[in-house]
Protein backbone atom coordinates (compact mmCIF):
# COMPACT_ATOMS: atom_id res chain seq x y z
CA UNK A 1 0.00 0.00 0.00
CA UNK A 2 1.33 3.44 -0.91
CA UNK A 3 1.94 5.77 2.00
CA UNK A 4 -0.11 8.94 1.82
CA UNK A 5 1.74 12.03 2.96
CA UNK A 6 -0.18 14.67 4.86
CA UNK A 7 -1.06 17.63 2.68
CA UNK A 8 0.03 21.01 4.05
CA UNK A 9 -2.74 23.46 3.28
CA UNK A 10 -2.24 27.20 2.89
CA UNK A 11 -3.84 27.69 6.30
CA UNK A 12 -1.66 24.95 7.80
CA UNK A 13 1.44 26.55 6.33
CA UNK A 14 0.49 29.91 7.81
CA UNK A 15 -0.06 28.26 11.21
CA UNK A 16 3.37 26.62 10.96
CA UNK A 17 4.96 29.98 10.15
CA UNK A 18 3.24 31.54 13.17
CA UNK A 19 4.53 28.71 15.37
CA UNK A 20 8.07 29.30 14.09
CA UNK A 21 7.75 33.06 14.59
CA UNK A 22 6.56 32.47 18.16
CA UNK A 23 9.41 30.01 18.78
CA UNK A 24 11.95 32.51 17.43
CA UNK A 25 10.57 35.25 19.67
CA UNK A 26 10.63 32.93 22.69
CA UNK A 27 14.24 31.96 22.00
CA UNK A 28 15.38 35.57 21.50
CA UNK A 29 13.62 36.59 24.70
CA UNK A 30 15.28 33.71 26.51
CA UNK A 31 18.76 34.76 25.35
CA UNK A 32 18.17 38.37 26.33
CA UNK A 33 16.57 37.45 29.67
CA UNK A 34 19.58 35.38 30.69
CA UNK A 35 22.54 37.52 29.53
CA UNK A 36 25.09 35.89 31.86
CA UNK A 37 24.25 32.35 30.70
CA UNK A 38 24.19 33.53 27.09
CA UNK A 39 27.57 35.25 27.30
CA UNK A 40 29.19 32.33 29.18
CA UNK A 41 27.89 29.77 26.69
CA UNK A 42 28.94 31.87 23.71
CA UNK A 43 32.36 32.39 25.33
CA UNK A 44 32.79 28.65 25.89
CA UNK A 45 31.86 27.90 22.27
CA UNK A 46 34.10 30.68 20.92
CA UNK A 47 37.16 29.64 22.92
CA UNK A 48 36.61 25.97 22.08
CA UNK A 49 36.56 26.83 18.38
CA UNK A 50 39.22 29.55 18.37
CA UNK A 51 42.05 27.48 19.83
CA UNK A 52 41.99 24.62 17.31
CA UNK A 53 41.05 27.16 14.62
CA UNK A 54 44.21 29.21 15.13
CA UNK A 55 46.34 26.05 15.30
CA UNK A 56 44.80 24.78 12.07
CA UNK A 57 45.24 28.09 10.26
CA UNK A 58 48.83 28.50 11.44
CA UNK A 59 49.90 25.02 10.42
CA UNK A 60 48.08 25.25 7.08
CA UNK A 61 49.67 28.58 6.23
CA UNK A 62 53.17 27.70 7.41
CA UNK A 63 52.98 24.42 5.53
CA UNK A 64 51.89 26.25 2.39
CA UNK A 65 54.76 28.73 2.82
CA UNK A 66 57.33 25.94 3.12
CA UNK A 67 55.86 24.01 0.23
CA UNK A 68 56.62 27.02 -2.01
CA UNK A 69 60.31 26.64 -1.25
CA UNK A 70 62.74 24.87 -3.55
CA UNK A 71 63.27 22.16 -0.98
CA UNK A 72 65.57 20.18 -3.26
CA UNK A 73 68.51 22.52 -2.71
CA UNK A 74 71.57 21.43 -0.75
CA UNK A 75 74.13 23.43 1.18
CA UNK A 76 77.72 22.27 0.60
CA UNK A 77 80.18 23.41 3.31
CA UNK A 78 83.77 23.58 2.04
CA UNK A 79 86.79 22.93 4.23
CA UNK A 80 87.76 25.96 6.31
CA UNK A 81 90.32 28.18 4.66
CA UNK A 82 89.42 27.14 1.10
CA UNK A 83 90.74 29.77 -1.29
CA UNK A 84 89.12 31.02 -4.49
CA UNK A 85 90.90 28.41 -6.58
CA UNK A 86 89.72 25.57 -4.35
CA UNK A 87 86.17 26.95 -4.46
CA UNK A 88 86.24 27.10 -8.27
CA UNK A 89 87.59 23.58 -8.46
CA UNK A 90 84.83 22.13 -6.26
CA UNK A 91 82.22 24.12 -8.20
CA UNK A 92 83.48 22.68 -11.50
CA UNK A 93 83.53 19.16 -10.08
CA UNK A 94 79.93 19.52 -8.91
CA UNK A 95 78.87 20.87 -12.31
CA UNK A 96 80.59 17.87 -13.90
CA UNK A 97 78.38 15.48 -11.93
CA UNK A 98 75.44 16.63 -14.10
CA UNK A 99 71.77 17.42 -13.29
CA UNK A 100 72.73 20.78 -11.74
CA UNK A 101 70.64 23.89 -12.52
CA UNK A 102 72.86 26.43 -10.79
CA UNK A 103 75.30 26.90 -7.95
CA UNK A 104 75.43 29.95 -5.68
CA UNK A 105 78.53 30.75 -3.69
CA UNK A 106 78.28 32.27 -0.23
CA UNK A 107 81.67 33.49 0.92
CA UNK A 108 82.55 33.61 4.63
CA UNK A 109 82.22 37.40 4.48
CA UNK A 110 78.77 37.23 2.91
CA UNK A 111 77.73 34.63 5.50
CA UNK A 112 78.94 36.82 8.34
CA UNK A 113 77.22 39.90 6.91
CA UNK A 114 73.97 37.95 6.53
CA UNK A 115 74.13 36.74 10.14
CA UNK A 116 74.85 40.21 11.41
CA UNK A 117 71.94 41.66 9.47
CA UNK A 118 69.26 39.13 10.32
CA UNK A 119 70.03 37.47 13.58
CA UNK A 120 71.12 40.13 16.03
CA UNK A 121 74.49 38.51 16.41
CA UNK A 122 76.63 41.61 15.91
CA UNK A 123 78.00 41.59 19.47
CA UNK A 124 78.92 37.92 19.43
CA UNK A 125 80.44 38.10 15.96
CA UNK A 126 82.36 41.25 16.85
CA UNK A 127 84.22 39.40 19.61
CA UNK A 128 85.65 36.93 17.09
CA UNK A 129 89.03 37.86 15.65
CA UNK A 130 88.77 35.54 12.65
CA UNK A 131 85.76 34.70 10.57
CA UNK A 132 85.00 31.05 11.47
CA UNK A 133 82.41 30.61 8.73
CA UNK A 134 83.25 28.35 5.77
CA UNK A 135 82.48 29.02 2.13
CA UNK A 136 79.10 27.52 1.31
CA UNK A 137 77.95 26.39 -2.13
CA UNK A 138 74.18 26.32 -2.49
CA UNK A 139 73.49 23.69 -5.13
CA UNK A 140 70.18 23.72 -6.99
CA UNK A 141 69.59 20.45 -8.86
CA UNK A 142 67.69 20.72 -12.14
CA UNK A 143 64.16 19.40 -12.72
CA UNK A 144 65.38 16.04 -13.96
CA UNK A 145 66.03 15.01 -10.38
CA UNK A 146 62.66 14.32 -8.78
CA UNK A 147 62.91 11.49 -6.31
CA UNK A 148 64.46 11.68 -2.86
CA UNK A 149 66.69 8.70 -3.77
CA UNK A 150 68.17 10.55 -6.76
CA UNK A 151 68.81 13.64 -4.65
CA UNK A 152 70.41 11.61 -1.90
CA UNK A 153 72.63 9.86 -4.45
CA UNK A 154 73.79 13.24 -5.84
CA UNK A 155 74.36 14.52 -2.29
CA UNK A 156 76.49 11.47 -1.46
CA UNK A 157 78.66 12.02 -4.57
CA UNK A 158 79.12 15.72 -3.76
CA UNK A 159 79.97 14.94 -0.12
CA UNK A 160 82.70 12.58 -1.34
CA UNK A 161 84.42 15.27 -3.42
CA UNK A 162 87.79 16.53 -2.14
CA UNK A 163 87.55 19.91 -0.44
CA UNK A 164 83.97 19.29 0.80
CA UNK A 165 83.71 19.31 4.58
CA UNK A 166 79.98 18.75 5.10
CA UNK A 167 76.70 18.75 3.21
CA UNK A 168 73.19 19.60 4.31
CA UNK A 169 70.31 18.40 2.21
CA UNK A 170 67.59 21.02 2.84
CA UNK A 171 64.89 18.60 1.82
CA UNK A 172 65.49 16.45 4.89
CA UNK A 173 64.75 19.14 7.46
CA UNK A 174 61.99 20.60 5.35
CA UNK A 175 60.34 17.20 5.26
CA UNK A 176 60.70 17.00 9.01
CA UNK A 177 59.15 20.45 9.39
CA UNK A 178 56.39 19.51 6.97
CA UNK A 179 55.70 16.25 8.81
CA UNK A 180 55.64 18.10 12.13
CA UNK A 181 53.25 20.69 10.72
CA UNK A 182 51.00 17.96 9.35
CA UNK A 183 51.07 16.39 12.79
CA UNK A 184 50.01 19.69 14.32
CA UNK A 185 47.30 20.02 11.68
CA UNK A 186 45.88 16.64 12.64
CA UNK A 187 46.24 17.53 16.28
CA UNK A 188 44.20 20.69 15.66
CA UNK A 189 41.43 18.55 14.14
CA UNK A 190 41.52 16.18 17.13
CA UNK A 191 41.46 19.15 19.51
CA UNK A 192 38.54 20.62 17.53
CA UNK A 193 36.63 17.32 17.81
CA UNK A 194 37.33 17.10 21.57
CA UNK A 195 36.31 20.71 22.16
CA UNK A 196 33.29 20.21 19.90
CA UNK A 197 32.23 17.22 21.97
CA UNK A 198 32.73 19.30 25.10
CA UNK A 199 30.54 22.08 23.68
CA UNK A 200 27.82 19.55 22.80
CA UNK A 201 28.03 18.19 26.35
CA UNK A 202 27.82 21.71 27.81
CA UNK A 203 24.76 22.48 25.67
CA UNK A 204 23.14 19.15 26.63
CA UNK A 205 23.67 19.75 30.35
CA UNK A 206 22.43 23.33 29.97
CA UNK A 207 19.29 22.11 28.21
CA UNK A 208 18.70 19.46 30.84
CA UNK A 209 18.87 22.04 33.63
CA UNK A 210 16.65 24.41 31.65
CA UNK A 211 14.10 21.68 31.01
CA UNK A 212 14.09 20.58 34.65
CA UNK A 213 13.43 24.19 35.64
CA UNK A 214 10.57 24.32 33.12
CA UNK A 215 9.25 20.83 33.87
CA UNK A 216 5.82 22.11 34.89
CA UNK A 217 5.53 24.20 31.72
CA UNK A 218 6.49 21.21 29.59
CA UNK A 219 3.99 18.99 31.38
CA UNK A 220 1.15 21.49 31.01
CA UNK A 221 2.01 22.12 27.36
CA UNK A 222 1.93 18.37 26.71
CA UNK A 223 -1.43 18.09 28.45
CA UNK A 224 -3.03 20.83 26.38
CA UNK A 225 -1.85 19.28 23.12
CA UNK A 226 1.71 20.51 22.60
CA UNK A 227 3.88 18.07 20.67
CA UNK A 228 7.52 17.41 21.50
CA UNK A 229 8.43 19.16 18.25
CA UNK A 230 6.49 22.24 19.35
CA UNK A 231 8.37 22.36 22.67
CA UNK A 232 11.66 21.61 20.98
CA UNK A 233 11.39 24.45 18.46
CA UNK A 234 12.53 27.39 20.69
CA UNK A 235 15.47 25.31 21.90
CA UNK A 236 16.42 24.56 18.28
CA UNK A 237 16.45 28.27 17.54
CA UNK A 238 18.54 28.94 20.65
CA UNK A 239 21.00 26.24 19.57
CA UNK A 240 21.27 27.61 16.04
CA UNK A 241 21.86 31.10 17.42
CA UNK A 242 24.46 29.80 19.88
CA UNK A 243 26.20 28.06 16.98
CA UNK A 244 26.08 31.09 14.68
CA UNK A 245 27.07 33.67 17.30
CA UNK A 246 29.63 31.38 18.96
CA UNK A 247 31.37 30.71 15.64
CA UNK A 248 31.29 34.41 14.73
CA UNK A 249 32.83 35.26 18.10
CA UNK A 250 35.44 32.54 17.51
CA UNK A 251 36.36 34.15 14.19
CA UNK A 252 36.76 37.48 15.95
CA UNK A 253 39.01 35.82 18.54
CA UNK A 254 41.06 34.16 15.80
CA UNK A 255 41.41 37.55 14.09
CA UNK A 256 42.66 39.04 17.37
CA UNK A 257 45.15 36.22 17.92
CA UNK A 258 46.40 36.55 14.34
CA UNK A 259 46.85 40.30 14.85
CA UNK A 260 48.69 39.60 18.10
CA UNK A 261 50.99 37.10 16.35
CA UNK A 262 51.67 39.31 13.34
CA UNK A 263 55.07 40.75 14.55
CA UNK A 264 56.38 37.21 15.13
CA UNK A 265 55.13 36.11 11.72
CA UNK A 266 56.77 39.12 10.08
CA UNK A 267 60.09 38.19 11.76
CA UNK A 268 59.70 34.61 10.54
CA UNK A 269 59.03 35.87 7.04
CA UNK A 270 62.19 37.97 7.14
CA UNK A 271 64.27 35.13 8.51
CA UNK A 272 63.18 32.63 5.87
CA UNK A 273 62.62 35.08 3.02
CA UNK A 274 59.04 33.94 2.66
CA UNK A 275 56.01 36.11 1.98
CA UNK A 276 53.15 34.27 3.59
CA UNK A 277 50.46 36.15 5.46
CA UNK A 278 48.11 34.64 8.01
CA UNK A 279 44.57 35.38 6.87
CA UNK A 280 41.20 33.81 7.64
CA UNK A 281 40.01 32.38 4.31
CA UNK A 282 36.34 33.03 3.50
CA UNK A 283 35.77 29.30 3.00
CA UNK A 284 37.15 28.58 6.47
CA UNK A 285 34.93 31.27 8.03
CA UNK A 286 31.78 30.09 6.26
CA UNK A 287 32.50 26.42 7.04
CA UNK A 288 33.10 27.23 10.70
CA UNK A 289 29.83 29.15 11.05
CA UNK A 290 27.68 26.71 9.06
CA UNK A 291 29.18 23.58 10.64
CA UNK A 292 28.96 24.94 14.18
CA UNK A 293 25.34 26.06 13.74
CA UNK A 294 24.41 22.71 12.19
CA UNK A 295 26.17 20.60 14.85
CA UNK A 296 24.70 22.71 17.63
CA UNK A 297 21.21 22.40 16.11
CA UNK A 298 21.54 18.67 15.50
CA UNK A 299 22.89 17.86 18.97
CA UNK A 300 20.20 19.99 20.60
CA UNK A 301 17.52 18.31 18.55
CA UNK A 302 18.72 14.84 19.60
CA UNK A 303 19.17 15.91 23.25
CA UNK A 304 15.70 17.46 23.37
CA UNK A 305 14.10 14.36 21.88
CA UNK A 306 15.66 12.25 24.64
CA UNK A 307 14.94 14.73 27.45
CA UNK A 308 11.35 15.49 26.43
CA UNK A 309 10.53 11.79 26.28
CA UNK A 310 11.59 11.53 29.92
CA UNK A 311 9.06 14.17 31.02
CA UNK A 312 5.62 12.60 31.21
CA UNK A 313 2.48 14.35 32.42
Amino acid sequence: MRKRWPVLTRQGFKALLRQHRDALLVSLTHLLKHPVTTVLTLGAIAISLALPGVLYLLTTHVNAAFSGWDNRQMSVFLEPGSDTQAVSMVTEQIQALGSIARIETITPEQGKASLQASADLQTALATLEDNPLPTVLVVHPDVSLRSAAELESLAARIAALPGVDDLLLDQAWLEKVSATLQGFQRLSIVVAICFGALVILVIHIGLRIELLQRREEVTVTKLVGGSDLYMQRPFNYIAAMYGFLGASLALLLIKLIVWWLSPQLAALNELYGSHFQLRIPLRFAVTLIVATSFISLLSTSVSMKILLKQIRP
Binding site: A15, V220, V224
Partner: protein, 223 residues
Protein backbone atom coordinates in the same frame (compact mmCIF):
# COMPACT_ATOMS: atom_id res chain seq x y z
CA UNK B 1 -23.68 8.22 18.76
CA UNK B 2 -21.56 7.52 21.81
CA UNK B 3 -18.56 9.71 22.48
CA UNK B 4 -16.81 7.41 24.95
CA UNK B 5 -17.01 3.65 24.85
CA UNK B 6 -15.02 1.41 27.20
CA UNK B 7 -15.10 -2.37 26.87
CA UNK B 8 -13.37 -4.57 29.44
CA UNK B 9 -10.99 -1.68 30.08
CA UNK B 10 -8.25 -2.36 32.61
CA UNK B 11 -5.12 -0.70 33.89
CA UNK B 12 -2.36 -2.17 35.97
CA UNK B 13 0.61 -0.01 36.93
CA UNK B 14 4.00 -1.69 36.90
CA UNK B 15 4.70 -3.34 40.24
CA UNK B 16 1.29 -2.64 41.75
CA UNK B 17 -2.22 -4.07 41.80
CA UNK B 18 -4.94 -3.40 39.24
CA UNK B 19 -6.00 0.26 39.26
CA UNK B 20 -8.96 -0.40 36.93
CA UNK B 21 -10.68 -3.70 36.25
CA UNK B 22 -13.07 -4.66 33.49
CA UNK B 23 -14.71 -1.26 33.00
CA UNK B 24 -17.64 -1.29 30.59
CA UNK B 25 -19.37 1.99 29.98
CA UNK B 26 -20.73 4.26 27.31
CA UNK B 27 -21.05 8.03 27.51
CA UNK B 28 -23.18 9.75 24.94
CA UNK B 29 -22.32 13.03 23.32
CA UNK B 30 -23.60 16.00 25.37
CA UNK B 31 -23.85 14.17 28.71
CA UNK B 32 -22.77 15.58 32.08
CA UNK B 33 -21.37 12.66 34.04
CA UNK B 34 -19.98 12.51 37.57
CA UNK B 35 -17.37 9.93 38.38
CA UNK B 36 -17.23 9.24 42.08
CA UNK B 37 -15.70 6.89 44.59
CA UNK B 38 -13.23 6.86 47.47
CA UNK B 39 -9.60 7.82 47.09
CA UNK B 40 -7.79 5.14 45.13
CA UNK B 41 -11.02 3.90 43.54
CA UNK B 42 -9.63 4.57 40.06
CA UNK B 43 -11.29 7.88 39.17
CA UNK B 44 -8.08 9.64 38.21
CA UNK B 45 -6.78 6.56 36.41
CA UNK B 46 -9.87 6.48 34.20
CA UNK B 47 -9.43 10.17 33.36
CA UNK B 48 -5.72 9.61 32.66
CA UNK B 49 -6.64 6.81 30.27
CA UNK B 50 -9.15 9.05 28.52
CA UNK B 51 -6.51 11.79 28.18
CA UNK B 52 -3.99 9.19 27.00
CA UNK B 53 -1.62 10.14 29.80
CA UNK B 54 -1.62 6.41 30.49
CA UNK B 55 -2.29 3.53 28.13
CA UNK B 56 -4.81 0.81 29.03
CA UNK B 57 -3.33 -2.54 29.99
CA UNK B 58 -6.25 -4.34 28.39
CA UNK B 59 -9.62 -3.80 26.80
CA UNK B 60 -10.91 -1.32 24.31
CA UNK B 61 -11.26 2.45 24.59
CA UNK B 62 -13.10 4.17 21.76
CA UNK B 63 -13.57 7.91 21.44
CA UNK B 64 -15.99 9.13 18.83
CA UNK B 65 -15.92 5.67 17.28
CA UNK B 66 -12.11 5.49 17.04
CA UNK B 67 -10.02 3.05 19.04
CA UNK B 68 -7.43 5.17 20.85
CA UNK B 69 -5.71 2.71 23.17
CA UNK B 70 -3.01 2.08 20.55
CA UNK B 71 -2.87 5.58 19.09
CA UNK B 72 0.75 6.31 18.10
CA UNK B 73 2.63 8.71 20.39
CA UNK B 74 2.98 11.22 17.57
CA UNK B 75 -0.82 11.47 17.23
CA UNK B 76 -1.49 12.09 20.93
CA UNK B 77 -0.94 15.90 20.86
CA UNK B 78 -3.53 16.30 18.09
CA UNK B 79 -5.94 14.12 20.09
CA UNK B 80 -5.43 16.21 23.23
CA UNK B 81 -6.06 19.42 21.27
CA UNK B 82 -9.67 18.24 21.09
CA UNK B 83 -9.92 17.66 24.83
CA UNK B 84 -10.25 20.09 27.72
CA UNK B 85 -8.49 18.95 30.87
CA UNK B 86 -9.02 20.56 34.28
CA UNK B 87 -6.94 19.67 37.31
CA UNK B 88 -7.49 20.05 41.04
CA UNK B 89 -4.38 22.22 41.30
CA UNK B 90 -5.28 24.14 38.06
CA UNK B 91 -1.64 23.94 36.84
CA UNK B 92 -1.33 27.50 35.59
CA UNK B 93 2.07 28.76 34.47
CA UNK B 94 3.17 31.28 37.12
CA UNK B 95 5.35 33.39 34.82
CA UNK B 96 2.55 34.03 32.29
CA UNK B 97 -0.42 36.24 32.80
CA UNK B 98 -4.02 35.06 32.64
CA UNK B 99 -4.34 35.92 28.95
CA UNK B 100 -1.21 33.96 28.00
CA UNK B 101 -2.20 30.98 30.16
CA UNK B 102 -5.56 30.75 28.46
CA UNK B 103 -4.04 31.35 25.01
CA UNK B 104 -1.57 28.45 25.35
CA UNK B 105 -3.71 25.75 23.63
CA UNK B 106 -4.38 28.16 20.74
CA UNK B 107 -0.73 29.16 20.38
CA UNK B 108 0.13 25.46 20.11
CA UNK B 109 -2.15 25.10 17.11
CA UNK B 110 -0.68 28.22 15.48
CA UNK B 111 -4.00 30.07 15.51
CA UNK B 112 -4.14 33.58 14.06
CA UNK B 113 -3.55 36.32 16.66
CA UNK B 114 -6.96 37.81 15.85
CA UNK B 115 -8.66 34.48 16.58
CA UNK B 116 -6.53 33.93 19.68
CA UNK B 117 -7.58 37.30 21.09
CA UNK B 118 -11.24 36.71 20.26
CA UNK B 119 -11.42 33.21 21.77
CA UNK B 120 -9.36 33.99 24.86
CA UNK B 121 -11.58 36.98 25.69
CA UNK B 122 -14.71 34.92 25.04
CA UNK B 123 -13.45 32.15 27.36
CA UNK B 124 -12.46 34.65 30.06
CA UNK B 125 -15.85 36.34 29.70
CA UNK B 126 -17.59 33.01 30.24
CA UNK B 127 -15.72 32.40 33.49
CA UNK B 128 -16.15 36.04 34.56
CA UNK B 129 -12.49 37.03 34.52
CA UNK B 130 -12.26 39.34 31.53
CA UNK B 131 -10.97 42.13 33.74
CA UNK B 132 -8.13 39.94 35.03
CA UNK B 133 -6.45 39.12 31.74
CA UNK B 134 -3.25 41.01 32.62
CA UNK B 135 -3.02 39.55 36.13
CA UNK B 136 -0.63 36.79 37.03
CA UNK B 137 -1.83 33.58 38.75
CA UNK B 138 -0.26 34.56 42.07
CA UNK B 139 -2.45 37.69 42.11
CA UNK B 140 -5.66 35.63 41.92
CA UNK B 141 -7.71 33.76 44.53
CA UNK B 142 -7.94 29.93 44.42
CA UNK B 143 -11.39 30.12 42.84
CA UNK B 144 -10.21 32.59 40.20
CA UNK B 145 -7.21 30.41 39.42
CA UNK B 146 -9.49 27.43 38.89
CA UNK B 147 -11.70 29.50 36.61
CA UNK B 148 -8.64 30.46 34.55
CA UNK B 149 -7.87 26.73 34.31
CA UNK B 150 -11.39 26.14 33.03
CA UNK B 151 -11.10 28.97 30.51
CA UNK B 152 -7.87 27.38 29.23
CA UNK B 153 -9.63 24.02 28.95
CA UNK B 154 -12.54 25.37 26.90
CA UNK B 155 -10.72 27.93 24.73
CA UNK B 156 -10.17 25.34 21.99
CA UNK B 157 -13.89 24.49 21.96
CA UNK B 158 -13.34 20.84 22.91
CA UNK B 159 -16.00 18.17 22.47
CA UNK B 160 -15.02 16.55 25.77
CA UNK B 161 -14.14 18.20 29.06
CA UNK B 162 -12.37 16.07 31.69
CA UNK B 163 -12.15 17.49 35.22
CA UNK B 164 -10.21 15.75 37.97
CA UNK B 165 -11.39 16.93 41.41
CA UNK B 166 -11.83 20.49 40.11
CA UNK B 167 -13.29 21.74 43.39
CA UNK B 168 -10.96 19.88 45.72
CA UNK B 169 -9.31 23.04 47.04
CA UNK B 170 -12.39 25.28 47.05
CA UNK B 171 -15.03 26.15 49.62
CA UNK B 172 -18.67 25.07 48.97
CA UNK B 173 -19.73 28.42 47.46
CA UNK B 174 -16.83 28.51 45.00
CA UNK B 175 -17.31 24.81 44.24
CA UNK B 176 -20.93 25.43 43.29
CA UNK B 177 -19.82 28.35 41.13
CA UNK B 178 -17.37 26.11 39.26
CA UNK B 179 -19.99 23.42 38.83
CA UNK B 180 -22.40 25.95 37.38
CA UNK B 181 -19.76 26.71 34.75
CA UNK B 182 -19.57 23.03 33.82
CA UNK B 183 -23.35 22.89 33.56
CA UNK B 184 -23.28 25.95 31.30
CA UNK B 185 -20.69 24.34 28.99
CA UNK B 186 -22.68 21.13 28.98
CA UNK B 187 -25.79 23.02 27.95
CA UNK B 188 -24.05 24.19 24.77
CA UNK B 189 -23.23 20.60 23.80
CA UNK B 190 -19.89 19.89 25.51
CA UNK B 191 -19.64 16.42 27.06
CA UNK B 192 -18.39 16.83 30.63
CA UNK B 193 -16.88 14.13 32.83
CA UNK B 194 -16.14 15.29 36.38
CA UNK B 195 -14.29 13.14 38.90
CA UNK B 196 -15.24 14.17 42.43
CA UNK B 197 -16.03 12.73 45.84
CA UNK B 198 -18.00 15.80 46.95
CA UNK B 199 -21.44 14.33 47.63
CA UNK B 200 -23.19 17.67 48.03
CA UNK B 201 -22.10 18.71 44.55
CA UNK B 202 -23.19 15.39 43.12
CA UNK B 203 -26.59 15.74 44.76
CA UNK B 204 -26.96 19.28 43.47
CA UNK B 205 -25.68 18.93 39.90
CA UNK B 206 -25.45 15.31 38.84
CA UNK B 207 -27.38 13.98 35.89
CA UNK B 208 -25.55 10.69 35.72
CA UNK B 209 -23.27 9.16 38.33
CA UNK B 210 -20.66 6.48 37.80
CA UNK B 211 -19.48 4.86 41.02
CA UNK B 212 -16.05 3.28 41.13
CA UNK B 213 -14.87 1.02 43.94
CA UNK B 214 -11.44 -0.63 44.04
CA UNK B 215 -11.02 -0.19 40.33
CA UNK B 216 -14.39 -1.65 39.36
CA UNK B 217 -17.49 0.12 38.12
CA UNK B 218 -19.99 -0.54 40.88
CA UNK B 219 -22.82 1.70 39.81
CA UNK B 220 -24.16 3.70 36.90
CA UNK B 221 -27.22 5.72 37.81
CA UNK B 222 -29.15 8.66 36.42
CA UNK B 223 -30.48 11.36 38.70
Amino acid sequence: MSLIECRHLGKRYAGSKEALLDINLTIQRGELVFLTGHSGAGKSTLLRLLALIERPSRGSLRINGHEISHLPDVAIPRYRQNLGIIFQDHRLLPDRNVYENVALPLRITGAEPRIVAKRVRAALDKVGLLDKERSFPAQLSAGQQQRVGIARAVVNKPALLLADEPTGNLDPTLSAEIMRLFTAFNQVGVTVLVATHDRSLIRQFAERILLLRRGRLQGDSHA
